[in-house]
């Protein structure tokens, strides 16, 4: 899919470029954005690296000219550098620096366009797990329409499989962000936005909100547990058996403005996500139509990308 | 102070006054942006009626047509006032200005009547995003007209007290600009809000 130059040669340079910052604080594993564990985060990282290198070139050129100029052309007695008090322009130089940034930006722009379109929809031929995400005032509610379970402030997903998040809010806006897996998307009241992510490695990752929403906003962390598909199914079965159901009364409790711990529910009332109607089309890309029956969910691709 | 045909009108003769007229044009440009933003809001909100009425349910073209006619006429009368001022006919200028402000007042009172009717029917702007957008857009125009009436009253006073001085000629000219501008905004309002609302 991606051109070859976009893949390899410069990737080795990035650790070098960031070495100073990394070394000053230890091993560098805490730089989650630089160690994505899923395809979305990885593609975003490629783009970040490419842009960083192109911009590194600009910075290098400017800094070189800059330091040379202030050292060479200082106003001090005995400076032998040529003084050209009437030099006010040069056609060729100026054409050069209209063109040069344009070229560099084109180098960034093409992969930007490609990645943006590529990440907009779940890869063809892969059936995603659908999870309905509602941001509440300082907590996260995750509902699994295919599995009929729900969770607060914790998320369990199978590895190696795309997860399609449908995001909405019954609160001020937040953004739903799992930095280790990929970029964020807003949760907005009266709207549903899609975001897909995937974890390729089992593990526990941090999720958080990126959009300030009040005094409890800084506490809106949640844990994302990526487990093997078999373990995921086992978790669903266990939750349905052992957890208590979520009633409207429980949901009303969740609407209160406070922070809470984690919780699991064996079922949830169907009116808690705004798209209970059949034939709901995802906003944004509109790539999937999600069909909801009483007890089941199917999705079908709307068009071939 | 009679102007032979072909020379500049008096309000442009003095460079200071000319500068002020340019300033007023620039102000009108910012007002265009203000209305453009409100129009954009309204157009997006038109379908967001929540549990409230749709546009077609609350718009009645009759009174709106009357308002349109009144405002268009007042645009004509303000031009007559300006024309009289350029011919240095003070009384006629004042007379047409008073007619203009009376027409403006009747426009505003008609609009208020419509608003009151809607609100009494329970259609406050609290009811839906659409109604919020509607009342705000039309109300902003209405309050511009109201401001214009206040301005016209002051202007009449100044004309009575000081006659057709250069400053007053310039003020009358900028007032006429303002008034025509409101007229144009109303034409957009009429078509985008009312006509399009009744059609759907």
């Amino acid at each position: 899919m991606r051109p070859a130059f976009f893949k390899r040669p410069y990737r080795k340079l990035v650790p070098l470029a960031l070495a100073a910052g990394l070394l000053s604080t230890g091993c560098g594993q805490q730089y989650v954005l630089l160690h994505p564990v899923g395809p979305v985060g990885q593609q975003e990282l490629h783009l970040m690296e490419l842009a960083a290198i192109a911009m590194g070139i600009v910075i290098l050129v400017v800094f070189t000219l800059y330091f040379y100029a202030i050292i060479r052309f200082r106003d001090k007695p005995g400076n032998t550098a040529p003084y050209r008090p009437d030099w006010h322009g040069s056609k060729w130089l100026e054409i050069l620096w209209w063109v040069l940034p344009a070229v560099l930006l084109t180098v960034i722009a093409i992969p930007t366009v490609k990645t943006t379109y590529a990440l907009d929809h779940v890869p063809k031929g892969k059936d995603p797990i659908v999870i309905d995400v509602t941001s509440l005032t300082w907590k996260w509610l995750f509902e699994y329409p295919g599995q009929h379970v729900a969770a607060v402030n914790q998320l369990v997903i199978p590895t190696g499989k795309p997860v399609l998040f449908e995001l909405t809010a019954d609160s001020p806006m937040n953004t739903f962000w799992i930095p280790a897996l990929g970029g964020m998307e807003y949760t907005m009241p009266n709207r549903v936005l899609p975001l897909w992510l995937q974890a390729n490695k089992p593990g526990t990752y941090i999720g958080l909100s990126g959009q300030y929403s009040g005094t409890g906003f800084a506490k809106m962390f949640f844990h994302v547990k990526a487990v093997s598909p078999a373990a995921f199914n086992a978790w669903v079965a266990k939750t349905r058996k052992t957890a208590s159901p979520m009633t409207m009364a429980v949901y009303d409790q969740l609407l209160k403005h406070n922070t809470t711990g984690q919780a699991l529910y064996s079922s949830y009332p169907k009116d808690t996500f705004p798209t209970v109607a059949n034939g709901f089309t995802l906003t944004g890309s509109g790539m999937y139509m999600v069909m909801r029956d009483k007890n089941d969910i199917t999705y079908m691709p709307m068009q071939n990308p | 102070m009679n102007n032979p045909i072909g020379s500049l009108p008096a309000e442009f003769e003095n460079t200071h006054e000319g500068v002020k007229i340019l300033g007023f044009w620039v102000f009108l440009a910012t007002d265009v942006m203000l209305f453009a933003s409100l129009f954009a809001v309204y157009v997006v909100y038109r379908s967001r009626v929540a549990l409230g009425p749709t546009p077609a349910q609350i718009f009645a073209l009759g009174p709106v047509l009357a308002e349109t006619l009144i405002l268009l006429t007042s645009s004509f009368t303000v031009s007559l006032s300006l024309y009289a001022a350029r011919q240095s006919r003070l009384k006629s200028a004042i007379g047409w200005l008073v007619v203009t402000l009376l027409l403006g007042a009747s426009f505003v009172s008609l609009e208020i009547r419509e608003f009151v009717k809607d609100v009494l029917a329970g259609h406050t702007w609290h009811q839906s995003a659409f109604l919020s957008g509607f009342f705000t857009l039309v109300g902003t125009h209405g309050s511009h007209v109201t401001f214009g009436i206040g301005w016209a009253v002051l202007l009449t006073l100044e004309l009575v007290l000081r006659g057709l001085t250069v400053a007053n000629r310039r003020k009358l000219f900028t007032f006429a600009l303002y008034w025509h501008f409101l007229d144009i905004v109303w034409i957009f309002l009429f078509s985008v809000v009312y006509l399009a609302g009744v059609m759907t």
Partner: protein, 659 residues
């Protein structure tokens, strides 16, 4: 005590406002206000204050008042910044509660953008633009005073929220629905809305004023392409203001209607649409950041040639790039919310247009570098700020392009990477530019220079502190730290970089303290500028004495080329600016008027009424506004004439008359 009185006190001073630190600051502020009042009374200075400053319409004095107010606001915003950084120095710190932290970052952003940066460059516009184009004043001197007082009382309104009623806490862009009554029931948000609205009217008026001034009042011979670049930047900034502020007015106005009058624009219920606010706000907000940076570009385009003793490199390209940035800046606003689901087509369009802006900006950068190339660079303080600007701004611009890569922005968005980016461009660009301009034009404003040695120290601390504060924040972003967190948990590795950043912030604070000391010390030990041309300048303002007389130019100069004053000096024609006794004409100058300050006070009173929903007070303020406008409209006698003898005597005293 009567119940209504107790109720009023509870309303004005809700418990969250009565924190010990705030009460302490309140007492301190009250005492210093009393001290100033006492001094003015004792020294019999009230009349002087009223005649010379409060009612003035002289653009030079208005400029000075703007700059002083902006410095005070820089202090206030800076204290907010230090509070933020103190809270974040270690994980789970409890220097402040979450509510107070939210208020502090909100006021930090709002104060710095609307009440520090904007008035600061309005001040520099006022000080320099009319002098640079050879005008006697701005086009509308009275409107100019109105602009200033609306800003001043808007700022006052915003700042009293701190001690009366509670500060806003929804962030400087105040997204609904969080800013709606449902989630934000206090009066703080009302303060925010009204303060910005009041000062916004002033900003629009300033935009109109300078656009017309520059288009209409230039000296004979000064064509558009002979204008100094700073004047060009004032021109494009004014244009940007005119078209950017009305959408802000609408965004704030609609929020106000929601909060105060029960409309349903951005509410959760009744199909309100929060995203509409985001669009309206950033249609304003993105041009706004160029409104902030363009004047700095203009200042550097004056400072670099002066201190390199070389004309600006590529003047035409500089003008074209300003115009290109102006035009493009209206087409990039969605890059503030790629993640709101507009779809890849829209996002890519706005991402690419954002990258496009980098081209004209890069061109400017190279042109400044090549202005220095082959020159003779003097490291005076204005030039030092400029030299600090280039590396800082390049890094900020580069990170901006990285943010414009749409898919990558999904990771950077709302993280500390963004914080670092925009501080790099706004502090490294705007603030460095403004301080450079302040040092540059200070002698022209006051007649004495700021001490160079102290100025260097101020720069050194501020610059070092800046890099130490904001470079770690890029890495915090890569670690996944999001903005506006009142505290953060340990174990994510965020502690070390945050501590570095906090130390840097305090070093910047020391830099600011030195700057204030620099001003105070130089005031006490003035180094007088007797020539009017302390930097060996190139443009017309340096042909005047420092400070310039009320009417600026006794004789309006004729301009034949760019850098007109430099050319006169090169040709040895500097005597051309002097007056012959037989040439003297009477000069019209605008008369002082109390109307602007009365208008602004009325706005202030009315706004307080709106903030607390005291309708009688809002109506009172409204009537005051109407009365002031009517008075202004009816008052015809706005000019006074300086007779030739006065002019001649003034010029003689300045030594500017041919014998």
């Amino acid at each position: 005590m009567r119940p209504w009185f107790i109720h009023l006190i509870k309303l004005l001073f809700p418990p969250q406002v009565l924190l010990p630190d705030i009460v302490g600051i309140d007492i301190g502020l009250t005492l210093s206000a009393l001290a100033i009042a006492l001094y003015l009374t004792k020294a019999r200075r009230w009349g002087w204050l009223w005649r010379e400053w409060l009612t003035t319409v002289d653009h030079k004095r208005i400029g000075i008042m703007y700059i002083i107010a902006a410095l005070i606001m820089l202090f206030r915003g800076g204290v907010d910044a230090l509070m933020i950084r103190s809270q974040l120095i270690v994980p789970e710190a409890h220097f402040m509660g979450a509510q107070q932290y939210d208020e502090v970052f909100t006021t930090h952003g709002t104060v710095m953008i609307f009440f520090m940066a904007m008035p600061f460059f309005f001040g520099l516009f006022n000080v320099a633009v009319p002098l640079m184009i050879g005008a006697r004043d701005v086009a509308f001197p009275r409107l100019n005073a109105i602009s200033f007082w609306l800003f001043a009382f808007g700022a006052a309104l915003f700042n009293i929220s701190f001690s009366i009623g509670g500060s806003p806490s929804a962030g400087w862009f105040s997204y609904p629905p969080y800013s709606e009554l449902q989630f934000n029931p206090g009066v703080g948000e009302n303060y925010y809305l009204l303060a910005l609205q009041v000062s916004g009217i002033g900003s629009i008026a300033t935009g109109i004023n300078f656009l017309v001034t520059i288009l209409k009042l230039r000296a004979p011979g000064m064509t558009l392409m002979k204008m100094p670049l700073f004047v060009w930047s004032a021109l494009v900034t004014s244009t940007l203001i005119l078209f950017a502020f009305p959408p802000l007015t609408v965004a704030l106005g609609l929020t106000m209607l929601d909060r105060l009058f029960g409309a349903s624009f951005f509410t959760l219920a009744h199909e309100g649409m929060p995203m509409m606010y985001a669009n309206l706000f950033w249609i304003f907000g993105h041009p706004e950041v160029y409104i902030l940076i363009m004047p700095a570009f203009g200042i550097f385009s004056e400072v670099v040639p002066t201190f390199s003793r070389k004309p600006l490199f590529g003047y035409e390209a500089m003008v074209i790039s300003l115009l290109a940035i102006t035009f493009l800046s209206y087409g990039v606003w969605v890059h503030h919310f790629f993640e709101m689901g507009a779809g890849p087509g829209v996002n890519v369009f706005f991402g690419l247009s954002t990258m496009l802006i980098a081209i004209p900006t890069g061109v400017k950068m190279f042109n400044w570098l090549f202005t220095m190339w082959g020159g003779r660079i003097r490291l005076s303080v204005p030039m030092l700020w400029q030299l600090g600007f280039i590396p800082t701004f390049v890094v900020g611009g580069a990170s901006g392009v990285m943010l414009a890569a749409v898919a990558a922005d999904y990771q950077y968005h709302n993280s500390y990477f963004v914080i670092a980016h925009f501080h790099n461009v706004i502090v490294g660009g705007t603030v460095f530019g403004l301080l450079s301009g302040m040092y540059y034009w200070w002698p022209k404003m006051f007649g004495w220079k700021l001490n160079e040695r102290q100025g260097r120290w101020a720069f050194a601390f501020f610059f070092t502190g800046f890099w130490l504060t904001f470079m770690p924040q890029y890495f915090l972003g890569l670690e996944g730290m999001t903005r506006r967190m009142a505290s953060y948990p340990p174990g994510l590795g965020w502690g070390g970089l945050n501590a570095m950043s906090t130390i840097g912030a305090f070093i910047m604070g020391v830099g600011f303290a030195i700057l204030v000391y620099n001003i105070a010390w130089s005031r006490m030990h003035p180094e007088w500028d007797t020539t009017g041309d302390p930097w060996d300048g190139r443009t017309l303002e340096w042909s005047l004495p420092s400070p310039a007389p009320a009417y600026n130019f006794a004789r309006i100069p004729e301009v034949h080329e760019r850098d007109a004053w430099w050319a006169m000096k090169q040709r040895g024609e500097t005597d051309a600016v002097k007056l012959s006794p037989d040439q003297v004409e009477p000069i019209h100058v605008p008369k002082n008027t109390p109307m602007p300050i009365c208008l602004a006070v009325s706005f202030f009173v009315g706004s307080i009424g709106m903030v607390f929903a005291w309708h009688w007070m809002a109506i009172l303020g409204g009537l005051g506004v109407v009365a002031a406008l009517a008075y202004g409209s009816l008052e015809d006698d706005t000019d006074r004439e300086l007779d030739p003898t006065t002019v001649l005597n003034t010029e003689k005293r300045l030594g500017r008359v041919h014998p």
